[in-house]
């Protein structure tokens, strides 16, 4: 289509507003942030001093505590993503291939509604549940067990809880689109359920899981409020950045480069797998 005369003009007219917005408002802001990572602060007044230095990046790379925090954050983001994938697969499969008609619609509404219920309220509900006298300990007490309390485990549980609909939705959509005759053909060719799952269902679901993981992984990687609410003394990258914003903006900016780099790498990898199209 782009060889027609005037197509270029139309393309430019279509692309210019969104690109201008994203490049000016978004990339421009990121560039300003990255630039300020090379500045420093006055140790007494906390004011930003605009002298060029790479000290912030050197500090981040050489201070062991930042490496520990970065690895811990990465581990939690991966754990949340895996947990969500494990939970979402059977639920999405049931919704897309077993439930029919009315039940399916009800299930979809049921999965989507919590997205509107408020992130903070849900995190606080978990704080109450996981507390010393909360419902989790009360339910586990007869079994002689105790809940995880506040800490890294609680962070993984609550983040997985918060982002679960973001994983169910793309997996459901992929499974729903899978034509029934493909599954029948697989059976006709003599494949058992396991073989069909592996050779027909898995390839269709893989990009959807990757698409969902963009949300679960990157939302977990930058979160700091849930960590504040149920993390106890656990520190993640988001918390470290948040605590430095008012004290030492250049250091916070330099620290921001860590999750940005991780996520850009992740997005690039996911895009190669073709998952951004099925987002």
């Amino acid at each position: 289509m782009s060889c027609e005369p005037g197509a270029r003009g139309r393309l430019a007219a279509l692309l210019a507003p969104p690109l201008l917005w994203l490049v000016l408002a978004y990339l421009g802001s990121l560039a300003i942030l990255l630039l300020s990572a090379f500045w420093t602060t006055d140790p007494f007044t906390s004011d930003v001093v605009r002298t060029w230095t790479t000290d912030n990046f050197r500090d981040i790379l050489t201070t062991p505590v930042y490496r520990t925090v970065a690895l811990r954050t990465l581990g939690i983001a991966v754990a949340v993503t895996l947990l969500d994938a494990v939970l979402a697969l059977p639920m999405a499969f049931f919704m897309a291939r077993v439930a029919r008609g009315r039940l399916r619609r009800v299930l979809l509404v049921a999965v989507l509604t919590p997205l509107w219920a408020g992130y903070l309220v849900k995190a606080y509900a978990w704080r109450v549940m996981l507390g010393e006298h909360g419902i989790v300990n009360a339910a586990l007490a007869p079994l002689g067990l105790r809940g995880p309390g506040y800490g890294a485990t609680a962070v993984v549980i609550v983040l997985a809880y918060l982002w679960l609909p973001y994983m169910i939705l793309p997996v459901y959509a992929a499974l729903e689109r899978l034509p029934a005759h493909q599954l029948e053909a697989s059976a006709d060719l003599g494949a058992g359920t396991v073989r069909t799952l592996r050779s027909v269902v898995a390839p269709a679901v893989r990009p959807a899981i990757l698409a969902g993981s963009v949300f679960t992984f990157s939302l977990s990687l930058g979160d700091y409020l849930t960590v504040q609410i149920v993390g106890g003394r656990t520190q993640l990258l988001g918390n470290v950045i948040a605590s430095q914003v008012t004290l030492d903006l250049p250091l916070a900016a330099a620290l921001s480069a860590v999750p940005v780099a991780l996520i850009v790498c992740y997005l690039a990898a996911v895009r190669r797998a073709g998952a951004l199209d099925s987002l």
Binding site: P17, L19, L22, V109, A110, W116, A117, K122, R177, V260
Partner: protein, 270 residues
Amino acid sequence: MHLTRTARIVLGCVTAAGLALIYLPLLLVVLNSLNADGSFAWPPSGLTGEWWSRAVHSAGARDALWTSLRAGLGATAIALVLGSLAAFAVHRHRFFGRQTVSFLIVLPIALPGIVTGIALNAAFRTVLEPVGIGFGLFTVVVGHATFCVVIVFNNVAARLRRIAPSLAEASADLGARPWQTLRYVTFPALRPALFAGALLAFALSFDEVVVTTFTAGAGTRTLPIWIYENLARPHQAPVVDVVAAVLIGLSVLPVYVAQRLSSDPAGGRL
């Protein structure tokens, strides 16, 4: 593929357990909005309507709700325009850097809110404040619109991929001018996707805390900010639960409508 009865039952049980787990905390929120003991001890000692009447009379909650509605509508309107334009560009044209455009659109939602927040904060302070535009509703709308574009884009792009090109060709063959085809053929086919995209974009803006914290300034309080400020206060937390319970109840409606109207099986895309 034939699923055995057992497999169906197991899948059903897992789904039911998953949903129970999803709704348990929400149920607890509703229960706590009626819990006579303001510190949420389990089990509740009694029920009270006090928090509900306090919430109804809370001017802070009402103002915050109004601010959130305005911010959400503003961001959604901008996202609808920018997201649709980008979707048309990427769908209708093949050009160098096409992949980069979709990458750039996803970026604001994929990068952590705190990074987006402090980046916008730094940019607004360097660029907008010198020309006299301070932090307020406007900066919140700009911030929200930036990460809402991707939602509209995804919905519209997915729909465009499924509209048969023959429809537009038939329209042209029957003598319609390009804008007539857009008005009478493409737009009606896109309407459900636009609606679903707008709704999800609004939901995203309505629930956003982190970017808002860094772009709102002192005087502007959206509902999530109000919730954040009040959850930690001992006698305000049950009032927050009332607000949350109302939102949970109201949210069924738009989700249901979107799901009925949308051609997308999932009622829209994130």
